[in-house]
Amino acid sequence: MNDRHDDEKIPDRRRFLECMAWAGAGALWMMKGGVAHAGMLGSGNAAADATFRFVQISDSHIGFHQAPNPDPVATLRETIARINAQPQRPDFIVHTGDLTHLSKPEQFDTVKQILGEAKVDQVFCIPGEHDVIGDNGKAYFAHFGGGGVSGGGWHSFDHHGVHFISLVNVLNLQAGGLGFLGTEQLAWLQQDVAGLSASTPIVVFAHMPMWSLYPQWGWGTQDSAQALALLKRFGSVTVLNGHIHQIQRQVEGQVTFYTARSTAYPQPAPGRAPAPGPLKDLPAGQLHKYIGSRDVRHVRGSQAIAVTDIALG
């Protein structure tokens, strides 16, 4: 179906490949006093300086079966095996959504089984739009819990002085709109952070980007500004999301946004293709350079959160 686009796409694809190459080995991003510092993995001493660490994975799309990855089960398994092989065990793994491709029960079963292979105390998930197809998340919540009193799946917890907030921005989407949080969730968020001191580091998980990354492709959340306004008084806010299957970073005041790679397949850079979707024509054998996981560390004695993206190959 895309053959007629191939000629137009080649220059854009090359730019995308070059752009990704520098990040392929694993780039470390760190915020210090609101200023971003970049370095290569291994150049710093982040591991020794960390209070704790966790791993973010995203967009596993179990049930997808086409180019460039006909077997996303295998790549998710490899990702989990890589995490298990690290000498230091992460405190937890968070999956930021699109566990499945089509919200089918057997796809949820498969994801649950593979995530169960992780050697960590806790794995928790937030839903992507692919996980709530046709039933507003009913099957997803039946498999992974987190529906809570509201049924909407948002929740928060504290870990070593960091306040973690999981938001759900893939339910009740509105025609012509983007990702959506809704008034009920925003009211909950206001309550949730009300008692916290402004020096508490905040880490937010969501599936869709919480800034206007590329609305033409639906890459944003229509009421994210209202959520961020509630977090404005905090000195350190780190927002980790998935959805767009590539690394993108954005700094707005004290807030740093990071989108993660997929464990399944990359998508084009914003506007670099006729539409979002799988980047199908990767060079042979190169898929693993475009997918992977993310290591997140809390830097000891500071508000800083250090983010390292690690390709699968």
Binding site: H130, K138, A139
Partner: protein, 116 residues
């Protein structure tokens, strides 16, 4: 999951029949296909006569869902690559729909009154 579809279908039954018992006219069959390609409904606006059966076909690798704003006709299941969905429009009017997981995708079907 299926219960919800049935509910929507029942709600919309006075307006739309999921499977048309009578053969659609040739004029209805001709221009009543919508392709979903590159995250767009093509054409984005389609005019059909009353009684037309409209068929959506997903040509993307991404799944899409056809959902009427205000439940004016039954929602499709998740359409994987190559999947089809059909709805028959038995009343004149303007029907707006969107993809419930990619809500920036919006389309319109205008069902015109029969010629007299």
């Amino acid at each position: 999951m299926f219960r919800r579809y049935l509910l929507l279908a029942a709600f919309a039954l006075p307006m739309v029949a999921g499977a048309a018992p009578r053969a659609p006219g040739a004029e209805a069959a001709a221009g009543s296909s919508i392709e979903i390609r590159n995250f767009h409904f093509m054409p984005a606006q389609l005019t059909v006569p009353v009684g037309a059966k409209v068929t959506w076909t997903n040509r993307d690798e991404e799944p899409h869902i056809v959902v009427s704003t205000g439940n004016q006709f039954p929602a499709s299941p998740g359409l994987d690559t190559g999947d089809h969905y059909q709805a028959t429009f038995t009343r004149p009017g303007t029907y707006t729909y969107f993809c419930s997981i990619h809500p920036q995708m919006v389309g319109t079907i205008v069902v015109s009154k029969p010629l007299r």
